[in-house]
């Protein structure tokens, strides 16, 4: 007997759900916008899709702010929001875009490196973290910023595999790491959205001749990674000099070097596959501490956001100073703010924004 498929009410329901999901997905293709107000230092605004057109109109596209100095020098790429819940990097990048002036070289700033992850917080590590956080400017305006997620949104990418295999190395991770930008480097132009984002970042580094790359991250308060500067082995001298300088300024950082075996991370892969000196900074974020209910990701006295932004920016300045010392002025990069970075300590971060 031949059984013929006949639509039943249940199948119709499933069909409607599929159509609904498709509509939701279609409505999410635009890249998330953010409250970033470029200052006088910004010469140019580009998109990541300029370096990989396939990203245009996808949730992975993201603005790139370009600041150029009057004096020729090297090129710096600052990445915030590789993990969009690690907001000190996002806000440090935002502060550079809004207030910094480059005097030597060129600085490319991407405040939301994984813009899909920035759209929504799925509560990785702590379900009580917020969707938004607010900062009040000096003028009394309340500005709202996304508190995003560690990974690309699930609906923006094909379903997670059971095991994510980092292509070039064969290293295996849990399936959800297929959406972790910092496990997908050096990316793939024809791969998943996360791999395409990575690929475009590598294209930027190559095309713009980036000399120094800093990927800004955060860890939990108690993580061994908190307050750490990680560098590629080629950049170990710059990192060592920077750490000693910072220590003399009262900022104690631990030093780590990229593992030879752990692939997919920015400092390892940019260092291996490009000429850039690659660094990763980790500041401590109370929002990544699973044991803290409803963490105050801005004002927790153990690690206020302004202090974490201070740590990120002072470390970057120390890296640049020692990059110039060791590599010479031809590729040096200098930028400054109209305030002392130490003014950020214990202060209202919003007062330093536009």
């Amino acid at each position: 007997m031949i059984r013929r498929f006949r639509p039943a009410p249940a199948w119709i329901g499933v069909g409607l759900l599929i159509v609904f999901a498709a509509c939701v997905a279609a409505s999410a293709v635009e890249p998330t916008s953010h409250d970033v107000r470029p200052g006088y230092g910004v010469d140019d605004v580009r998109w990541l899709s300029d370096y990989l057109p396939a990203l245009a109109g996808t949730p992975g596209d993201t603005p790139i702010y370009v600041l150029r100095g009057d004096d020729s020098g090297g090129t710096l790429l600052l990445l915030g929001g590789t993990h969009a819940n690690e907001i000190a990097g996002v806000m440090a990048a935002t502060l550079v875009v809004e207030r910094a002036v480059v005097t030597r070289g060129t600085v490319f700033v991407i405040p939301h490196a994984n813009n899909s992850a920035a759209r929504r917080n799925n509560g990785a590590y702590n379900a009580t973290t917020p969707q938004w956080f607010e900062l009040t400017t000096g003028g009394g305006e309340v500005r709202a910023f996304h508190y995003g997620d560690r990974r690309t949104q699930p609906e923006d990418q094909e379903p997670d595999p059971e095991v994510f295999v980092h292509g070039p190395s064969g290293l295996e991770f849990s399936g959800s790491e297929a959406r972790n930008l910092n496990r997908n480097h050096p990316g793939d132009a024809d791969g998943t959205l996360t791999q395409q984002i990575s690929y475009a970042l590598f294209a930027l580094v190559e095309q713009e001749g980036v000399d120094v790359l800093v990927d800004m991250h955060e860890s939990s308060l108690t993580s061994r990674l908190a307050n750490t500067l990680v560098s590629h082995p080629r950049a170990i001298d710059i990192a060592s000099f920077a750490i000693l300088d910072l220590e003399m300024e009262g900022l104690a950082l631990k030093q780590e070097v990229s593992s030879e075996e752990f692939h997919g991370l920015s400092h390892r892969e940019f260092g291996d596959h490009t000429d850039a000196f690659a660094f990763l900074i980790e500041s401590p974020n109370p929002g990544q501490e699973a044991s803290i209910e409803n963490p105050d990701v801005v004002n927790d006295p153990r690690a206020p956001l302004s202090n974490r932004v201070n740590l990120q920016l002072r470390t970057i300045q120390a890296i640049l100073a020692n990059h110039a010392l060791l590599e010479g002025t031809a590729t040096s990069i200098e930028f400054a703010f109209p305030f002392e970075l130490s003014d950020l300590l214990g202060a209202n971060l919003g007062a330093f924004l536009r």
């Binding site: 001298d237 060592s240 000693l244 003399m248 104690a252 631990k254 070097v257 030879e260």
Partner: protein, 209 residues
């Protein structure tokens, strides 16, 4: 308090310069000043990043030195001093493709060779409390007693530590105990960069010009 620690360190070095040791008991005074010869070989035992910082310290002190993260016995040829930075890093050990036992076995050979060649050994611990723990302590308790001089970023006995808590590598007094038990001179520093002054004294670096 930073100044206080630095002053204490300098005071200690003056004692050394006059031929005394930090741990010498009465009637057991070392009469020869502690002076080490360049060039130095700087390496890590435990494969942490501290050895790279020690290289920077040596550069700033003006000590001629070669830095090899995991030195070979051949690297010791022609050297006047072996500077080892103690501290285990699982990431670093993984990168070197060894476990902690393999590291201890390799470092034992290195120390034996240094002794055979008559090379002085300085052991440093400059990464603070974050570079303490079972593996690091194995490295410390195995090799610190075999050194000719110890430099530790950490609190002196009976002196309050007011720098970053995490920077105190001697909170439990381990280095003080090892130095006392083995009669090894020790310098306490409160910042890694303070080791520059210690090396200047130990290598008798004269100011240029």
């Amino acid at each position: 308090m930073k100044k206080r620690n630095t002053i204490l360190t300098i005071g200690l070095l003056l004692l050394i310069a006059f031929g005394l040791t930090a741990v010498a008991e009465e009637g057991d005074v070392q009469t020869e000043p502690v002076v080490f010869a360049a060039p130095a070989l700087i390496t890590s035992i435990g494969q942490s990043a501290g050895a790279a910082q020690a290289r920077v310290v040596a550069i700033k002190a003006g000590v001629e030195a070669m830095y090899v993260q995991r030195a070979t016995l051949e690297d010791l040829e022609g050297k006047g001093t072996l500077i080892v930075v103690l501290g285990a890093s699982s990431k670093g050990l993984g990168a070197a493709g060894v476990d902690i036992d393999g590291e201890v076995a390799w470092a034992t050979e290195l120390f034996d060779k240094a002794r055979e060649l008559g090379i002085g050994i300085i052991a440093m611990h400059i990464e603070g409390g974050s570079r303490r723990g079972p593996s690091s302590d194995l490295v410390i308790t195995t090799f610190a007693p075999l050194a000719d001089f110890l430099i530790v970023k950490g609190a002196m006995p009976d002196v309050e530590w007011t720098a970053d808590e995490a920077a105190n590598g001697n909170e439990d007094g381990l280095f003080t105990t090892l130095a006392a038990e083995n009669e090894i001179p020790i310098a306490y520093i409160d910042t890694t960069l303070a080791a520059v002054d210690v090396l200047i004294e130990l290598f008798d670096i004269q100011p240029e010009g």
